[in-house]
């Protein structure tokens, strides 16, 4: 996917959610296409990058995987600064991790950019038999809060790619719109991101309408 050394955009995305919901596994699936059975608790932050092509532009995703435990939250919230996207993860087999989502959301909204693109992820669909969070509940919540939503399995590599590409593409489109607006206004209080080129967004290929987003 990477296109040489030229990078048109760098997007920062944070991964947050309770501990042991699979944030690090989702990241390693996306960044290195790996899944490790003996992953350790994340302390502080872990950082990975992957470059993808979106509408012929190379977009480098800088992904910050954060520790889930409450103790580390004060430290990790510092990493939200400058983030354009967030993956908000819960474990479909642990009801409590879903119930904590509003808290995480609140924290994101108080620390991160207002236009942050947020994707809620219900991970571990490979453990369907132990499901404790019905997809309908999550969908309803996502609709209410205006979040993208997908269910994933980092273990089986289901929907992880889709989740990241959706967020990255949405950010991409927002940036382009901003650039367009900035250009027509000639008023330069625009985002500090690289890439001033104007590109008319094509049909929203992989960006589903927010309301219709769900696991296939």
């Amino acid at each position: 996917m990477a296109s040489g050394d030229r990078i048109d955009y760098v997007f920062k995305v944070v991964l947050i959610g309770d501990s042991a919901v699979g944030k690090s596994q989702i990241l390693s699936r996306f960044a290195r296409d790996e899944f490790s059975l003996d992953s350790k608790a994340t302390i502080g932050v872990e950082f990975q990058t992957r470059t993808v092509l979106i509408e012929h532009k190379s977009v480098k995703a800088q992904i910050w995987d954060t520790a889930g435990q409450e103790r580390y939250r004060a430290v990790t919230s510092a990493y939200y600064r400058g983030a354009l996207g967030a993956m908000l993860v819960y474990d479909i087999t642990k009801r409590q991790t879903f119930e904590h989502i509003p808290r995480w959301l609140e924290e994101l909204r108080s620390h991160a950019d207002k236009n942050l693109v947020i994707m809620m992820i219900g991970n571990k669909t490979d453990l369907e038999d132990d499901r404790a969070v019905p997809m309908e509940d999550a969908k309803e919540f996502a609709q209410k809060e205006g979040l993208f939503f997908l269910e994933t399995s980092a273990l089986q590599a289901v929907n992880v790619e889709m989740a990241f590409l959706t967020v990255l593409t949405e950010i991409f489109n927002i940036i382009i719109k901003k650039n367009l607006a900035a250009d027509s206004n000639a008023n330069n209080s625009v985002p500090s991101l690289e890439g001033k080129k104007i590109l008319i967004p094509g049909p929203a290929q992989i960006i589903p309408a927010k309301k219709g987003m769900c696991c296939t």
Binding site: D38, S39, K40, G44, F47, Y72
Partner: protein, 443 residues
């Protein structure tokens, strides 16, 4: 809060608190006993020059290094990568016999023991276990009090464990029953809060921090968290893996230690990563060739874990993050150390690349490097951390600084992302070399 007070009081020997004094004393100053005793012994101990004379007498301890060793032990030998290779060829027999000799003395010379341990302790047998216990101040220098001390500490541990962990309703009882009812209440049905014990106004949905129910549920959360992390502590090592009965037994012991620590130190609780810090201690103590010691690895590990954390426990406290003793202050100290030793590199990393130490050294420091290297190498690093006269934390920062300096070449040519990835996934390296560089640092 009365609960906290009681718990702390009852800790006695084991107690450490977030207010633990920060002195430059070389060995844990956490407890009312061990620490003081050690300091006193250090005063009467041999100084570096005498140590050297003894070395010459008891030949064989690191002959190769004696060649480079100057009279002042604070000036390290000029080891290069090649030299360190040479040092590791140095016969294990030499290490064993000298260390064994030292440990067989009636009163162990802790200065000398520190000096020996700094060069790495032998794997296998029980020498590392005994030495670590001495360095942490868990074993007193006087050999003839070991047996009684150990027996005493071990029985204290089991009494605490029994009281705190085997009976989940302790919490209620502490509030609701008078001390005279205590014996009777120990026999209560486990796991249920008896209706008549709940004070007026307390109920399962109470959000009040003082609510027994609230604490009960919070406790369950802690237990689950510990459980998850213990299961993912070195699962690829048979010793820790839940696949075997030995592994399961070990996991159970680690769970108890962490849970007891969390209960007795409610201001700190359980913080993720503590499992990693506990693992080397528990492993080394369990592998002790002395069967009795191995059998009591759990109790000994608990006490040593407390001592090990005594000068860094504040790093685990969220509310101290921005205080002068919290992790942020330590990180800034670390950054200054890099600047002092290599301003060019510091400038490149922090000013130009914007690679804040918080992004990578946070884990290095809070977990005492346990996640950065192979388990075997962690042991070697800990030999030096525990034995450094400057103290564990000071030595830790130096090793961390050396780690940065040792990849200077790569860092200078890297950008933000490359450098952060490099430091978060530190490349395999000769540990002796890093330790050598850490001793050479300006401070």
């Amino acid at each position: 809060m009365s609960l906290k007070r009681t718990a702390l009081d009852r800790l006695g020997f084991f107690f450490i608190g977030s207010e633990a004094s920060k002195t430059s004393a070389s060995i844990s100053d956490s407890g009312p006993d061990g620490g003081e005793e050690l300091e006193m012994l250090q005063v009467v101990g041999f100084g570096p020059q005498i140590v050297r004379e003894v070395d010459m007498e008891i030949h064989g301890w690191y002959d190769t290094e004696l060649v480079f060793k100057t009279l002042d032990k604070t000036v390290p030998p000029m080891i290069t990568k090649e030299f360190s290779g040479l040092a590791s060829i140095e016969s294990n027999d030499g290490k064993w016999s000298n260390l064994e000799f030292e440990l067989s003395q009636k009163v162990i010379d802790l200065d000398r023991l520190q000096w020996m341990a700094n060069y790495g302790l032998p794997d296998g047998g029980g020498l590392r276990a005994t030495t670590w216990k001495l360095l942490l101040g868990y074993l007193p220098a006087a050999r003839d009090s070991w047996e009684a001390d150990l027996a005493n500490n071990r029985s204290k541990y089991f009494a605490l464990k029994e009281e705190e962990l085997l009976n989940p309703s302790t919490l209620t009882q502490r509030y609701e029953t008078s001390p005279s009812n205590k014996l009777e209440s120990v026999n209560d049905v486990i796991g249920f809060l008896r209706r008549n014990k709940i004070s007026t106004g307390d109920h399962p949905l109470s959000l009040s921090k003082a609510s027994v129910w609230h604490q009960f549920f919070e406790n369950t959360e802690i237990v689950e968290q510990i459980d998850r992390d213990v299961q993912r502590t070195h699962p690829s090592m048979k010793f820790f893996s839940g696949d075997s009965s030995v592994g399961q037994k070990n996991q159970m012991a680690m769970r108890s230690i962490l849970h007891l620590f969390a209960k007795l130190n409610p201001a700190i609780g359980y913080v993720q990563g503590m499992n990693e810090v506990l693992a080397p201690l528990f492993y080394i103590f369990s592998m002790d060739s002395d069967e009795k010691n191995a059998l009591h690895a759990e109790a000994d590990s608990y006490a040593c874990f407390v001592r090990l954390l005594s000068d860094s426990v504040d790093h685990f406290c969220k509310h101290l993050d921005n205080s002068s003793v919290g992790i942020m202050a330590t990180l800034s100290h670390f950054s200054q150390l890099i600047k002092l030793n290599d301003e060019e590199l510091w400038r490149h990393l922090e000013i130009f690349n914007k690679v804040n130490p918080q992004f990578y050294a946070f884990r290095w420091i809070t977990l005492l490097l346990t996640q950065e290297f192979e388990f075997h190498d962690v042991m070697r690093i800990w030999d030096s951390l525990l034995s450094n006269p400057l103290g564990i934390q000071e030595m830790l920062l130096r090793v961390c600084c050396a780690m940065v300096l040792c990849v200077k070449h790569e860092l200078l040519s890297g950008d933000f992302a490359e450098n952060l990835k490099l430091l978060q996934h530190y490349p395999p390296i000769d540990i002796e070399y890093i330790l050598h560089v850490s001793e050479e640092l300006i401070r």
